[in-house]
Symmetry: C2
Subunit: 477 residues, 2 copies
């Protein structure tokens, strides 16, 4: 394909893309496909000869698009949103065209320095205390693994890198912490049994007195409290662990404090919500995902770390073929994580922050939080529904409980599972579930860029309609 | 930015992108910037108010572009190329627009199944033996870490996941293996001392008899040979480790065999070059990067694994909030690696394979290999230059050695370092270096999509001109 053929197809695609952005809300949000449908529609082997782009694009529209779940549909209330936005898409177009691999300063000076600048902008937007340096990672799972690896090395006096992880280090997180903590503990070689799950309070936040007991018990048994992962906004219910009390315990035991604010961190750019990060001055590291709530395309996860030396000592390996004359004077981000190769991800962050301005991004977060609180109010006021957790930000956890049903009625889980399937079968909205306190819980997470009041109203209408249908009537596939 | 404003700016950008693709060869390939130049040109803090897109794009052209190293310049001979191509860029435009997060089948059924299909196509193109299943990772560094983690778990009878990695496992790779092996060994908690660096032969390939001795010695000392990483195409010189002999040793000791074919693997789609993978039937896993030589945008690394159960047992953790009704019937790629979130990367692979056809991709590889061999012939024929390693594929390792200079003359390293700086200062080509057998070595890696004979000729002309300049004359900055 020549540059001029690219020009022709690129213009066709831009029109397709603009139409998609305008019309995505009219599509079914979750597709009607069964496992294997798409595989069966595609040839087993690759074509030997080149095919015209028109045919490839036609197959994309005919075979792939009807099998996609539309994450940027305004009816998206599932998981947490993974937003994009027009300026972010434009930046991704440029990133793909340059095709730069940004492993070191020399291989992309502007990308390296723009990453430093935009990460400093984010630190400013979150009002982080001085001393944090930022680097873009792909996901919060990776960032949390970085923290666990850094903590492992620091706690073992860097013996881990020489001799292996050993079996005396311990890691602490609440029973509501994200699965990436347990996964990271296992991958980093602590061993799954090194993870202490600390009980939570009635708001699903970590109980610091339980953490204190666990750390003291381990320390007196000769074990080493190496790391605490505190959640600011758990995935199940956006519970906020008490950073000041946790930070005090970490200081006492010399443990690394990692703050997982993957979704909720973005809310801290709003002055009246900044309190969710109170106590972050105790943290050794923090992660939040601009690709979740700050309108930047996945992937773009911001990892902030205080002790850069430990990070570099954990991740730097410089073979001769990567040495450059500039190394003493520059930052080479390949030394700041697992991967050697790196995409130019700072560009979309720069385009988005400038195109919306900090006030524009704040307005988006404020709108989502207000809509979630309004929805929570509707749930509270409805006699047949109940909230199952506080809704401090954009997530509402609730269930259907017909008047007169006891809270522990074993039928409620199935009833709500069926209700949720019915709502999603509408194709108009997408909600997911969790379990809180042993109870099946419906999650409504407001956070998609285009979600307005009408979409939240529609979700509430669909939920109530589904509740009135006879429970024995099977949900549509 | 509304969809219609996006349409306007998108069309402007497509013209910019087509012009860039057409004209990139006229730009300086390595920019004239000093560390800090770009940072200093950018504001310290983010803007409060939205800025018009015209201003953002103007700043991109004025501040960022002049500071980029142009990886898709036809004069790219540095490291290994990271290609893009028009069909791949078009796919990335769609991927950014959909903004799908492909962690599980439910969150993107078509993306999951297209990944299965395109990975099966790649296995077919490489003529892999039956039994390998593929998954897309971001980089070969990550894929190699996956292999090391899987090997750790298998070798410890999955005790590692419970109790920590322990200190009795050993990993083997040649002294020429990529730095990601040493990094992965350290991160996975084996401990850096667990890595045995095996000597190489005169062609820089692992010596199997030395591997046999090392594994036997460790086994008889009560240590456990857990993993061997064999290189098919080392980074310094594209040396090819002997897979059949290594495979036999792995079987004898029950060690995991991981094949790192990050760059060279793509060459195996060419029938007359497929022999580089002879012996791959002994491998437990293999990685190669379509983003290097198969015209697919970074990042897209293909990881093939034989024992999916061990992979899943190493990486699966399923919290309630990720469970779906389809789980028993589908593949959820979140369980196939470190990250939970995943981009829709199969789309560009599909667009590229169909747009070029397998024959079109083979023609690209053949052209690059022929050009490299021609360059190697010029070096061999020149009295003042010498090859420092065989050039079986697209990489030529050479240096300047004026007639009458002894091979071990200590001045040669500095002379060649200066020559390389001079060549790169031209702004027309970009080459990098390594050290082979203790000698400073210039690498010329032919692999950029647009590189033609004229560009290789220009590189050779610039190298010879630089050699004739007085060594005392300082290289341009």
């Amino acid at each position: 394909m020549t540059p001029d053929e690219f020009r022709t197809h690129g213009h066709e695609l831009v029109d397709w893309m603009a139409d998609y952005l305008r019309d995505v809300g009219t599509r079914r949000i979750v597709p009607r496909v069964r496992p294997g449908d798409i595989r069966r529609a595609l040839p087993d082997g690759p074509p030997d000869e080149a095919e015209p782009f028109e045919r490839v694009m036609a197959d994309f529209e005919r075979l792939i698009l009807p099998g996609m779940t539309h994450w940027n549909h305004p009816g998206w209330f599932a998981y947490f949103a993974a937003n994009n936005s027009p300026p972010s898409i434009l930046a991704e177009m440029l990133t793909a065209t340059l095709g730069a691999q940004c492993m070191s300063w020399q291989t992309s000076p502007a990308a390296t320095e723009l990453e430093q600048v935009t990460m400093a902008w984010l630190a400013h937007m979150l009002d982080l205390p001085p001393g944090f340096t930022g680097v873009i990672q792909d996901t919060a799972s990776t960032a949390t693994l970085l923290a666990l690896l850094s903590a492992r090395e620091r706690a073992s006096g860097f013996a881990g890198e020489r001799l292996g992880a050993g079996q005396r280090l311990r890691v602490y997180a609440s029973a509501e912490a994200h699965s990436s903590v347990a996964k990271g503990v296992k991958l980093a070689g602590y061993g799954a049994e090194a993870l202490r799950q600390i009980p939570v309070d009635g708001r699903y936040a970590l109980r610091p007195e339980a953490l204190a007991q666990a750390m003291a018990r381990d320390a007196s048994a000769g074990l080493v409290p190496a790391c605490v992962v505190a959640a600011v906004g758990t995935t199940s219910s956006t519970a906020i662990d008490p950073l000041p009390a946790i930070g005090e315990l970490c200081r006492r035991h010399g443990a690394w404090l990692h703050v997982d604010a993957a979704w909720a961190g973005s809310a801290a750019i709003v002055p009246e919500l900044r309190h969710i990060l109170d106590g972050v001055e105790h943290a050794d590291s923090l992660v939040f995902n601009p690709h979740k709530w700050l309108l930047v395309n996945f992937d773009c996860s911001a990892y902030f770390v205080r002790d850069v030396d430990t990070l570099l000592r954990t991740f730097t390996i410089t073979p001769e073929f990567l040495r450059t004359a500039h190394d003493p004077d520059v930052v080479n981000f390949r030394d700041w994580g697992i991967q050697l190769g790196r995409r130019f991800r700072a560009l979309k962050l720069w385009f988005v922050i400038r195109s919306y301005g900090v006030e524009g991004l704040r307005a988006t977060v404020r709108r989502h939080v207000a809509l979630a609180r309004e929805f929570a109010g509707w749930v509270e006021a409805a006699p047949d529904f109940e909230l199952l957790a506080p809704a401090p930000l954009g997530l509402v956890c609730f269930r259907y409980r017909p008047a007169g049903t006891a809270p522990d009625d074993p039928a409620l889980d199935g009833l709500n599972r069926e209700l949720l399937a019915r709502v999603n079968a509408s194709g108009r909205v997408f909600l997911t579930h969790t379990v809180l306190g042993g109870r099946f819980t419906i999650r409504l997470a407001v956070g998609q860029r285009c979600t307005e009041r009408e979409h939240v109203e529609e979700a509430w209408r669909l939920v109530r309609e589904a509740a009135t249908q006879a429970p024995s009537e099977p949900a549509a596939p």
